[in-house]
């Protein structure tokens, strides 16, 4: 993929400092303002403990409704049933896949039904 050179965010200010150091010998110094919006970070959460194994567990297969995701999970479901016959597989497609409303209640519903879940996006 053709991407521009990307500086890790942590390195931005050291580079700025380097520029500042250079500026001490430069004839012209421009002091410019940072154009980035500050992001108030949400609380950082850990991920849930993993399952010891899949035997006897309920595994939810969720997709975002984009074309292909469901078919991909069809293939995963077949393999799970073959390899882990004691597992229960539930198909839980995300309702109203791309809308920003109406899905908040869906996540707790999924969590209440399964021991683990695989979420596949079609893009």
């Amino acid at each position: 993929m053709n991407k521009p050179p990307i500086l890790p965010k942590e390195s931005l200010f050291p580079i700025a400092s380097l520029r500042s150091a250079e500026a001490t010998t430069a004839q012209v110094t421009l002091e410019v303002l940072n154009p980035r919006g500050e992001i108030p970070p949400p609380p950082t959460l850990g991920i849930r403990p993993r399952l010891p194994n899949l035997a006897g567990k309920k595994i939810g297969l969720c997709d975002n409704g984009k074309f292909g995701a469901s078919s991909f999970l069809d293939a995963i479901e077949t393999m799970l049933k073959q390899k882990y016959p004691a597992a229960t597989i539930l198909r839980l497609p995300k309702p109203a896949a791309q809308t920003i409303t109406l899905t908040k209640g869906w996540y707790p519903e999924v969590a209440a039904q399964v021991d683990g879940f695989i979420f596949a996006t079609g893009d």
Partner: protein
């Protein structure tokens, strides 16, 4: 755990971090194979098989300490200013440009260095506190303050008198009802239109005539570019990282920014039709897809009714799925609007005519997305009626239409056709459609201007 394609791994990791779950386990399947194999389960099976062991392992492999208790992400400490040196002004400005582009803070065209003096000059155009928070900008929810907007406006080459327009547009983008994430991140080439109404448009010399979408007009170009830079820097997006527009976004540097041609319009200004006063000035922002250029012009003859027929026909043939949120920006050139007025059309009349004539026979309802069936579109539409996304007041219209012999409206109501008059005489008509999944159209009053008579 989460599965996506390899081209979306950066985007997925970024989104997981944004949502407070930086340790989310993510598996990427090869994008170059996945997208060409989506027609059947059989074609996808080898790709699923290749990812299967990793998927299962991600479900059962015990957590590391960092995964269980990740370090809290703290607000990134931002240096307010950065000193950049050069042998002369041109060299220093070039160093600023390279630093900003390397940092993903610029759009690839030269920027004006946002020095404190330049930003103070920009802020002189508005009587609001630099610290005032306008809102959070999707997708990363960067905070848009008046000062941050002004910094980006300087970079874009705007003038202080444009700042009230730019700020009002940002208020529209950050409105709680506006789905900015879709425009900022979608794989489609969605992009904004920015349309200025009211006396400030003429006072600032926005182009609304011949060349309305073209270059050469500083208000149009730099207002749009300031918004491009605000969305880039405040929402913190970058192509192929979390802005996934596969072919990029049309008019990516300046957006489609213009004013309504109120002088040549036979109708009340657009903003007045929404309930604003004639002396008010407003800016409308809306997410749109690719524009279609329709009848008019200086070459072939045309009729106003023929143009309306063409618009209705084009709308009726584009495929559907999002009736609850679909909107159209219809830009009529002045001659067309005048001829329509002679035929007795008001703006409301045009809206109602398009609403009725663009209805789609139930039997020919086709999905907007390849791979979904007619039945899926019908079922999805019924779902949007049931869950209230189609307004209860309009529900009966859709229920009645969703059966054999019915004619399904392509939008919820006639007001979802937003009719503007712009361009010169002669001119062409433009149709911008938005088939997105959520609301993305907002008109905001321009206020607090200090350098203009309007918009104060």
């Amino acid at each position: 755990m989460y599965v996506t394609t390899s081209e979306f791994l950066d985007d997925a990791r970024s989104a997981a971090k944004d949502r407070g779950m930086p340790q989310l386990r993510i598996v990427g399947v090869p994008a170059d194979r996945y997208y060409r194999s989506r027609s059947s389960v059989a074609e996808l099976q080898p790709i699923a098989a290749g990812a299967f062991n990793q998927i299962v392992d991600d479900l059962v492999r015990p957590l590391t300490a960092e995964e269980a208790n990740p370090e809290q992400v703290h607000k990134e400490l931002q240096g307010k200013t950065i000193k950049v040196g050069g042998t002369d002004y041109s060299d220093a400005a070039e160093q600023v440009n390279q630093l900003f582009l390397d940092s993903l803070w610029a759009d690839g065209l030269p920027i004006v260095p946002p020095t404190e003096r330049a930003v103070k000059w920009m802020l002189s155009g508005l009587s609001r506190s630099p610290d005032e928070v306008i809102g959070q900008v999707a997708p990363k929810n960067g905070t848009a303050t008046i000062e941050k907007i002004a910094i980006n406006a300087v970079m874009a080459g705007a003038k202080p008198e444009y700042l009230p327009v730019i700020v009002a547009a940002m208020e529209g983008f950050t409105d709680k009802n506006y789905d900015l994430t879709h425009m900022q991140a979608s794989t489609g080439s969605f992009t904004p239109v920015v349309i200025v109404n009211g006396p400030i448009a003429k006072e600032l010399n926005f182009n609304s005539g011949i060349g309305v979408l073209g270059h050469g007009w500083r208000p149009n170009s730099t207002t749009g570019r300031a918004l491009r830079l605000c969305l880039l820097n405040l929402g913190q997006t970058w192509p192929a990282m979390n802005d996934m527009a596969l072919t990029g976004r049309l008019e990516s540097y300046t957006f489609f920014t213009f004013a309504e041609n109120q002088d040549l319009s036979p109708w009340e200004p657009y903003h007045v039709s929404l309930g604003f006063k004639p002396e008010d000035s407003t800016v409308t922002v809306a997410t749109v897809g690719n524009p279609i250029v329709l009848g008019g012009g200086a070459v072939a003859p045309w009729t106003a009714q023929g143009i309306l027929d063409t618009i209705a026909s084009r709308i009726s043939n584009v495929g559907f799925g999002w009736f609850h949120s679909q909107t159209y920006i219809v830009v009529l050139h002045p001659d067309c609007a005048v001829e329509l007025a002679k035929l007795g059309y008001t703006r409301k009349g045009v809206q109602e005519w398009l609403y009725e004539r663009s209805r789609v026979p139930f039997e020919t309802l086709i999905p907007v997305t390849v791979g979904f069936s007619h039945e899926a579109v019908v079922e999805f539409t019924r779902q949007t009626i049931a869950d209230g996304r189609i307004h209860p007041a309009r529900a009966d219209v859709f229920k009645e239409a969703l059966k054999p012999g019915g004619r399904v409206p392509v939008v919820q109501s006639p007001e979802d056709f937003h009719i503007f008059v712009a361009g010169g005489s002669p001119g062409y008509d433009l149709l911008f459609g938005y088939p997105g999944p959520n609301h993305a159209n907002q008109t905001t009053k321009i206020t607090s201007s200090t350098h203009t008579t309007a918009g104060r």
